[in-house]
Amino acid sequence: MTRRHFALFTLVLMTAALIAACGGAPATTAPTAAPASQPATTPAPEGKKFTIGISNPFISSEYRTQMIQSLIEINKEYMERGITNELVIESADTDVAGQILQLQNLINKGVDAILVNPSDVNGLNDTLQEAINKGIIVISVDQELNTPGVYNVGIDQKEWAKISARWLAEKLGGQGNIVLIEGFPGHPANIARMEGVEEVLKEYPNIKVLGRETGRWDQATGQQVMSNFLASFPNLDGYWTQDGMAIGAMQAVMAANPSKWPVLVGEGRCQFLQLWDQRLKEDPNFETIAVANPPGVSPTGLRIAVNMLLGKQVDKSKLGGANGLSFVIPIPVIVTKDNFQEVFTTVCKDKPATYLLDGIMTDEEVQQFFLK
């Protein structure tokens, strides 16, 4: 009796959980669902509305979350103007095969353009080619792909890394012992960034790299790795790290509180600026650099996709990259001691600590990439 009841109970519980989760769907997308009804009253001038699909294979990161949120927000703008339908978002933690499935589903749903944040350099090539053959506009955001026919929208990752690496090298006066904490080894963005760092360091032969370790773009891992470095190399003069790990690394330094702080680089995130502010109270001469890695490149990519769908011609002379198909987005904010107070007190004032310093191009700014 009890066993049977238990079994039924489990069944009911699970079904309820399922229904709850499905039912939760409209609730969380409510902000986008509401304006969706508006175009019905003000029909689009040219009839057909475009559908844009998003494929994102990794969700456990603030960057990706902010990216998806701002994509939904920017798309709302176009929905109100009657140009686009609601976004079709395929976003879950998945592998290459899973992302291929995501892309195939987007193709099958008949989207007009796909924004993809690729999980692999070559793994999606054939599938993206199929989409292009069907006349779908494919834009790779955030990471650069060398697939023919695929447009890229993103910052120049190599230059991005060089800015903070050069700052570090100059701050050290061209000599000293440093360590590097990198992101996922093998990830396209990480490869480009580390190339940039190596190029800069080549110019400063007196800077010695004692260790290089991955912090997996994860704050907690970055903190652990930095603690270990600090323990292993007490004579550390500085370190270079990037996104997502710089907060953890600096927290490790704060916890260890060595008599001589290593020169450190930061990241463009409000939480990091908080740490910066905190440190300034103890050491008014403290200096660091935070270069924004804007999730806003994706909504900028959305704007570019919409303009392309509207039939505007891309000005190829404005594009860069290996295939000449890359829209290179300028880095929106670089925080140094000169503008720290300004950014910290204005941008980060009413934002959560997890907010990444961002910049989304306006529709007008995007026009620079198109022929008049």
Binding site: S60, S61, P185, Q219, A231, G248, Q251
Partner: protein, 344 residues
């Protein structure tokens, strides 16, 4: 006179014999070799790296080892009772997210948040335990399924965002110390002592061991094996939750990714620490020593500048070696004790 001399001679020989067998017995115990390995590694690192013996490094090592102890206890308590818990890391992650949500999003006091987070862990463990007991399914399948569920919950609740607004008073536990000894280590030692005591001298402990050693025999001798399995999973949830909270306290922020690498750590520390895989054996010293061992190895790999990804490969090799040695040791001692090996 002659007689008494012969007597004393005999006694001496007997005593010598006793000493040597006792020595042998010590080495036959699996935790002794781990302790030895820790001592050797410790000496090696101290001699080769001047910064190893700095207070900061020792502080750091002992804190990490203490966290490993809790993670390993979560796995060991289930292994001891004859099961395993694949969802251990996910329970830890869920606890972290719940704690972060309470403190950051809701702004509740650490006391309430910690209680709720611990409750979450315990409930997760009870969920595993009750399904295993009621359905009679293998703990592997059940915890595999709950691993999926808990991970889904973590992502659903946190949406990938870490909770960084953790009150300062909560981080004292993970960062502070008592006369140079980190609170974390102190806590780990106390809990280990309690567990060692329970398994050695309390009925509950013996019943847990008996359940894992031979389920049928334990049931026939009147032990409520169902209760024991349920208890072991509940405690596993509690330990996972504790580890998760201590992790938050140490990091000063609640990361949803916490726990994703706990599985190999939990198995490695528990098994190397002498928790017999087919259940029925537990060693508190062994777990402490193997937690230290793995921390030292990790520390050493970083000093040797080895890619972090290979660290897990090393763990894999060590675990494989440990179980191989254990298996050979078992075969040898079985041969020595009994003419025929028992059916496994």
């Amino acid at each position: 006179m002659t007689n008494s001399r012969a007597d004393s001679d005999m006694q001496r020989r007997g005593a010598l014999n006793g000493v040597s067998t006792r020595m042998l017995n010590i080495f036959r115990r699996s935790d002794a070799s781990v302790v030895l390995a820790v001592v050797i590694l410790f000496a090696l690192f101290s001699l080769s790296n001047p910064s190893f013996l700095t207070p900061f490094n020792l502080f750091n090592i002992s804190r990490t080892a203490a966290l490993f102890v809790f993670i390993a206890l979560g796995q060991a308590i289930v292994i001891v009772a004859g099961g395993m818990n694949l969802s251990l890391g996910a329970i830890g992650g869920l606890t972290v997210v719940v704690a972060g949500w309470c403190m950051d999003t809701m702004g509740w006091s650490p006391w309430i948040s910690v209680s709720l987070a611990l409750l979450t862990g315990v409930l997760c463990g009870m969920f595993n335990g009750s399904i295993i007991v009621k359905s009679g399914l293998n703990s592997f399948v059940v915890t595999l399924a709950s691993l999926f569920i808990f991970t889904g919950l973590i992502q659903g609740i946190s949406q990938g965002f870490p909770y960084s607004n953790i009150p300062r008073e909560f981080t004292v536990l993970g960062r502070g110390d008592f006369m140079g000894m980190p609170y974390l280590l102190l806590l780990a030692l106390i809990v280990l002592a309690i567990m060692g005591y329970v398994f050695k001298f309390r009925v509950v402990g013996r019943c847990l061991l008996a359940t894992g050693g031979n389920l049928e025999a334990a049931r026939l001798s009147g032990i409520r094996t169902d209760h024991m399995i349920f208890l072991s999973h509940t405690l596993s949830g509690l330990f996972a939750a504790t580890a998760g909270l201590l992790w938050v306290s140490r990091m000063g922020s609640a990361q949803p990714s916490t726990g994703s690498d706990w599985l190999i750590i939990s198995f490695a520390v528990a098994i190397i620490g002498g928790t017999a895989l087919n259940g029925g054996a537990f060693s508190a010293t062994g777990i402490l020593a193997s937690a230290l061992l793995l921390t030292l190895i990790r520390n050493g790999l970083i000093m040797l500048n080895v890619n972090v990804y290979f660290e897990q490969t090393f763990l894999g090799i060590i675990v494989l070696l440990a179980v191989s040695i254990e298996s050979i040791r078992l075969a040898l001692s079985n041969r020595a004790l009994r003419p025929s090996p028992p059916a496994s």
